[in-house]
Symmetry: C2
Subunit: 390 residues, 2 copies
């Protein structure tokens, strides 16, 4: 990812609109994802964006930047003097990432900058990040292209008698060889996962502490999510939902495979998932309300008598889609009571999934771009259930 | 990881000693690593440990726990009523993980529990975690055993003409097939890495924003750490420092390989690294001061005329070792001004490393257990530089 100065300027202006709307003096950014957004790179330090003008970067590591808006500091207190030297008033009303930075870090910023007021910028920055620039759209498209390619190769990685863990490891390796960056950034400090989840058979219904669409017991209580180490068995569905981070911008793609033939109800539910996804793509015009898409997915599941197994069995995910970008769970969320309105150039993953008793999970997930007339699917591997034994 | 009730009781008592020393009423735990420590599992919710008695678990997800100290809640406010029902006074002086939880979460806890005072438990809990129970020691030993096995297999994964990325991917796959959990938990929200680092040639000297022993440019500015995608070349050293998380408890192991023969000064510096490690293992008796070990490593490097390339070139790591456990960077740190005293059953990674211009990184890292008479090395693959072309 090499980011031009004009791309960064565009992003700064988007953030500055929020700063002005909040009547704040500036925004101090210190968490990796927002630094990546504001600077195009991770640094150890802070990016300070005043309501007008260029970002100032107060950096501790790495050494070697000579850009004239980069200032090496050892303590944040030095930033105040640098601002004054540049003729910029130190902020009185300051936006900070209170929803992401630790309480101790928040206190440290307060002590160093002595702003009269510090307000939470976390949601504002997530809102800014939710609408992609043309450059960002290209990055998501490139991830989607490579992830789709990786997924079309999945059937070649299967060997009879594999465990779900072994299958996952080969899928991980193949993705990595195609350039997958591995790291899976997530919003929310209690969320964690390695490379994604490969859910086979009964394990698909195992409830998890995390807020992903489905769970899985995991290999250990140490990381209770995803595959559980059991052999893949005849009559299992195998749902693959693994990392699409090829460019820093994550695309999201889920496909369902089978070991041999599945019972009829599995194919039926899978087709309903595709019907839901198609319908939401059609509804998902700029201006649509997120909640309406979610409620429509419930209605379609219900119409086909599949409410009880939609998005889990007893523990259900309460959403059917979500924004994606630098993290896997960007805004907005397609969920109950989500009043957010879809806007052009949002990137959204839509993931209707069902759990079929004795079989496993079925359904699809694809990545979409919101346009005036609906959502464009940019992940492209075949949607049907592919029999790995064939 | 299946953890017995008596093991958990032992851990609770260790935390309760800190609670009492702080004259606090209890400690509320909400971050994954400390939940894993206190409950043996990750949940979405809180563990509340009063100064005396069993932990109470206020849980949102996953469903299905029937233990009588587990209480399902939707809002933390309900915890107050549950405490009262159990005859436990809601805490007035409360310890919370202020160094890990977000500022917004801190405010939420304050509002829900209305404690008179909330103090930072982050360092206290890290201190508790730094001294392992016999059960935990067994978990670290098992990770060390499997990681050592994985490392002895590394030469079989090499093929001439590989890039550092391809080599890393095969090392990752092999570790995963041996049961590596993949996830790499780190203390400090700005720290991130995927499976570790494979540093070849000049890339070993590339400075990184993160606080690891060495850096590397990474594949992209999106994740500026570790291998950079270049072909492995004749005369390169290849330093492998990848994830040892096989049990939830991470062991830490670095080995240096070569593509063909290296210049004499590389083998010399490598031998000095081993000398430093042996000397620190001998000095590292229970009661030794961490700073003294660090200063001794500087003295030995200096005595051999290698100060300028010890722990990096211009950007240097300011430590030579660190605690390990549920995260890769537990307490204590072997660093300048670190007055912490080594105690029996601490687990410590010691990683003296040098950068040789035009060659790459050399050195070793091993995992040790602190005993009365010194540190016991529990990682066991051969320490010499192995030529991958042979």
């Amino acid at each position: 990812m090499q980011i031009s100065q004009s791309e960064l300027q565009t992003r700064w202006q988007k953030i500055q609109q929020k700063i002005k709307a909040e009547q704040a003096d500036g925004c101090l950014i210190s968490t990796n994802v927002n630094l990546l957004y504001a600077l195009g790179r991770v640094i150890n330090g802070y990016a300070y964006l005043p309501a007008e003008g260029d970002a100032l970067v107060f950096i501790r590591r790495p050494e070697g930047f000579s850009e004239n808006n980069y200032f090496y500091i050892s303590r944040l207190e030095q930033a105040v003097d640098i601002l004054k030297e540049k003729g910029i008033a130190p902020p009185q009303k300051l936006l900070v990432e209170s929803g992401e930075m630790t309480h101790e870090d928040w206190l440290r910023v307060q002590k160093a900058l002595q702003a009269q007021e510090m307000r939470n910028a976390t949601t504002l920055l997530r809102q800014v990040r939710s609408i992609k620039t043309p450059y960002e759209i290209e990055q998501v498209r490139e991830s989607a292209r490579l992830q789709s390619l990786a997924y079309t190769q999945i059937p070649t990685l299967y060997r009879s008698g594999m465990t779900d863990h072994e299958f996952s490891v080969e899928i991980e390796r193949n993705a990595r060889l195609l350039g997958n960056l591995g790291i899976f950034r997530i919003f929310g400090q209690s969320m964690e996962i390695f490379m994604g989840s490969v859910l086979a058979g009964e394990n698909a219904a195992a409830p998890s502490p995390y807020d992903f669409a489905l769970g899985g017991a995991g290999m250990s209580s140490v990381l209770p999510i995803g595959h559980s180490g059991k052999p893949l068995q005849q009559g299992n569905s195998v749902m693959v939902d693994v990392n699409g981070n090829y460019t820093g911008y994550i695309s999201d793609l889920t496909r369902t495979f089978s070991i041999g033939k599945l019972p009829k109800e599995a194919y039926f539910a899978h087709d309903v998932a595709i019907e839901i996804q198609n319908r939401l793509a059609e509804m998902g015009k700029a201006g649509a309300v997120c909640e309406d898409l979610y409620l429509e997915s419930l209605r379609i599941a219900d119409r086909h008598g599949l409410s009880n197994c939609f998005m889990g069995l007893s523990q259900k995910a309460k959403f059917v889609g979500h924004g994606i970008g630098l993290v896997i769970n960007e805004l907005p969320v397609l969920a109950n009571k989500a009043k957010d309105v879809l806007q052009e150039n949002m990137t959204i993953a839509v993931e209707p999934k069902f759990i079929i008793n004795g079989v496993g999970a079925v359904g699809v997930e694809d990545t979409f771009i919101v346009h005036k007339n609906g959502m464009e699917r940019i992940t492209s591997s075949p949607q049907e259930i592919i029999d790995l034994e064939k």
